[in-house]
């Protein structure tokens, strides 16, 4: 990996960051990338949205218990 991340590398780190603590270099490189990348900025908020949606999911079961 070069110092500058590609979107492919950045999106993996964004996902990993939801499951483990990123290292300091990982966080610095990710922050640099996201600060100049609209696609990865959206990706970040969308995977966070997915987490909220999945949390709300079981409560949405239909009442008749299909």
């Amino acid at each position: 990996m070069a110092f500058r991340l590609t979107c492919k590398e950045a999106s993996k780190l964004i996902s990993d960051g939801m499951d483990r603590r990123l290292s300091v270099p990982e966080r610095i490189r990710l922050r640099l990338h996201v600060s100049i990348c609209d696609a990865c900025t959206r990706f970040t908020s969308q995977v966070a949205f997915l987490r909220r949606a999945l949390k709300a999911f079981p409560g949405r079961d239909d009442p008749e218990g299909r």
Partner: protein, 173 residues
């Protein structure tokens, strides 16, 4: 029931899990001190039963020996590592929770994931398990687990964008 079915991908196993959860609920009813709503309490018991069930199933299934490097995920990117299709702006995503059909769309997207990917992802996001617990249950390495969760997020994000946010189904604005 829908929740159990999603996780177990097998109607009879899902029905068993729900039944076991209800039995456990009846047996434990005296200990239920009313600190949470009955629904939350039942879903909590159901989660435990599903974890039991997944554990049993993964004991019966052969272990996947191949390392999952997520090669299939290359399709989301161009050769130089850019998004092949950049994520679009989603208008008012939080409002989707109130909209009829959103959770059906989400469920359809979850159903389209590979079985183990969907399992790992719902264990992580619905049940809130840590990745080391998930790896242990599914008997995969930690890095495999992260790749699976990454695949789930990439696929679900793209699927919801295609079938919900840009499809305009039932959405205003």
């Amino acid at each position: 029931m829908r929740f159990a079915l999603l996780q177990l991908r097998d109607r009879s196993a899902a029905e068993d899990a729900v039944q076991e959860a209800l039995l456990a609920a009846i047996q434990g009813a005296s200990r239920f001190a009313g600190q949470s709503s009955e629904r939350t309490w039942l879903v909590g018991i159901l989660k435990h039963k599903i974890v039991d069930n997944v554990r049993k199933a993964s004991r019966e299934q052969p272990i996947e020996s191949l390392e999952d490097r997520g090669e299939d995920l290359d399709a989301f990117f161009s050769d130089d590592g850019h998004f092949a299709e950049a994520p679009q702006q989603w208008a008012n995503p939080e409002r989707s929770f109130e909209e009829k059909g959103f959770f059906d769309a989400l469920e359809r997207c979850l159903q389209s994931l590979p079985r183990n990917t969907a399992r790992a992802f719902t264990m992580r996001e619905v049940m809130g398990l840590e990745t080391d617990e998930i790896c242990k249950e599914l008997r995969i390495s930690t890095s495999n687990c992260w790749v699976m969760l990454y695949r789930a997020r990439m696929s679900l994000r793209a699927c919801l964008e295609r079938t919900w946010f840009l499809a305009g189904s039932g959405r205003a604005g």
